[in-house]
Amino acid sequence: MQVAYYPGCTIKVSAQHHERAALAVLRALNIELCELPEWNCCGVLHSLTDDNLIRHMAPIRMFARLEEQGAHEMTTLCDMCFNTLAQANTWAKERPERIRAINSTSGGELDYDGRAQILHLLQLLRDRVGLAAIKARVRRPLRGLTIYPYYGCKLLRPSEVAMDDPETPRVLHDLMLALGATVAEGPLQTQCCGSYHVVDREQLVTNRVAATTDEARERGAEALVLSCPLCHYNFDSFQGSNHAALPIFYYTQLMGIAFGLEPEELGLDAHRVALLPVLLEHELVPEGVQVN
């Protein structure tokens, strides 16, 4: 299966290890991500001023460029990009005159017909590949490892673009079960991590990260799995020193481990909280493995 791929800036700058792991895992599933030949920043946040067209131009341009490739569907790893692109697309499809206005503001160079859509990689894995196929590819089940799935906001809110039930999401839960892990859950799984407050209100982020990791620990989790590069940054950097920090995995990395891929392919080195100890403890990577 070939799918058009929109990486987004964060994946190329600060979350390269997520992309490495995703590409390795998808190769193992015979899926080829075809990166768009030219792409721009998604706009990062969906603008709520819906009459300021230029704020919606970046995401709409990506859909137009996708259609220029003759495709109508693209996937992304980044939760922020997914959310911004999906919200802009919903906003545009609601009222076709918005698309016409953007096309004409572009000086006629854009010609979007409103038929494209964005899929988060988790959607692609759940709905197109299927958890049964993923389970069938597992070579080294994550037996004995207890994992707390963390969703954050961008996969689930607002509900118009949610890729799972906004109140009781299951996608990471089901994926972890398919990989053979034990899942610990709690109400803070869908709480915001503090997001961009990290730039000016570090304490707010620290408090939220501590509350969520405390809950995970109390419920027996040895690691946390998530999808969003921004959540990853906050959780990986702001756990404080009251407890031994929980290792923070991208779901792609755990898939790679369970698929028995080479640990070097999975970008396990680029984390502040070391990932190897918990994997070695459960004998999920070979003794003496080097990851960098």
Partner: protein
């Protein structure tokens, strides 16, 4: 009427002038009696000193051009921009590294790009300006360098940008970083420089001088390109990018 007489009307800084058809904007300005002491340079489309904004009488958009490269049209309303001011952060190329965030750190305003593509539409060189700003934003220094390679720093992009990005300064830093830190090392060049430093090249030169034009051309056409260590394909990064440059016919070049 204008066509019959071979004269057209243009408006320069708010005043109408009759000028002959077929002149460049720059020649038309001079025909109208102005002496250009700024806003003119090479007159060949390379120096970027003659950015022009204009409107056409039948269109609501602002158009852009280089005055030395564009023919004047009937009904043009023109204004010259001798240069576009930018304030660039100073850097010492030896002290900075080619990291994914380097361009963003020096030009944080690139994060304000809304992908409106106005810069691309304004570029008289036909470059994909927005795409190289976006490549810079995500730290793809090589792509930014390649896509901005033919920039002549006229600054029209920066004058039109709603996010006040200094595109040409961003592209210049990308090309400097690419040249200094990213381009593969060239062992053949180093070896040749070492040969040159021995200084005794008279025999080589004499041998070249003795060749006929046909022999020289044959050598030129059969020249080999350097291959990099890890990749045995000849290295030519420019092949991978859509340069708006016309393909150069080297045979014609030698004919001259």
């Amino acid at each position: 009427m204008s066509e019959q007489t071979g004269m057209i009307t243009m408006q320069l800084m708010g005043k109408n002038y009759q000028v002959p058809t077929g002149l460049t904007i720059m020649a038309a300005i001079e025909y109208a009696g102005y002496k250009l002491v700024r806003g003119a340079g090479c007159r060949g489309g390379f120096c970027g000193a003659c950015p022009t904004l204009y409107r056409r009488s039948d269109n609501h958009r602002i158009f852009t051009a280089l005055a030395c490269q564009t023919l004047v049209e009937d009904g043009m309303c023109l204004v010259q921009m001798p240069f576009v001011p930018v304030v660039s952060r100073r850097y010492d190329l030896h002290q900075i590294a080619a990291k994914p965030n380097t361009l963003l750190q020096h030009f944080p305003e690139i994060a304000g790009c809304v992908a409106c593509n106005t810069c691309t539409r304004a570029c008289p060189q036909g470059l994909q300006v927005m795409d190289y700003v976006q490549a810079s934003l995500r730290g793809d220094i090589e792509r930014a360098a390649m896509l901005s390679f033919d920039c002549i720093a006229c600054g029209i992009c920066s004058s039109r940008c709603p996010a006040d990005i200094k595109h040409y300064a961003v592209g210049l830093l990308a090309r400097r970083l690419y040249g200094k830190y990213v381009t593969p090392d060239s062992p053949q060049l180093a070896a040749r420089v070492a040969e040159l430093q021995t200084g005794n090249l008279i025999a080589d030169l004499n041998a070249l001088m003795a060749l006929s034009q046909e022999e020289l051309r044959a050598r030129y056409e059969q020249r080999t390109f350097e291959t990099s260590e890890e990749n045995k394909e000849p290295f030519s990064a420019i092949q991978h990018y859509n340069s708006p440059m016309d393909p150069v016919d080297y045979k014609d070049e030698i004919e001259v």
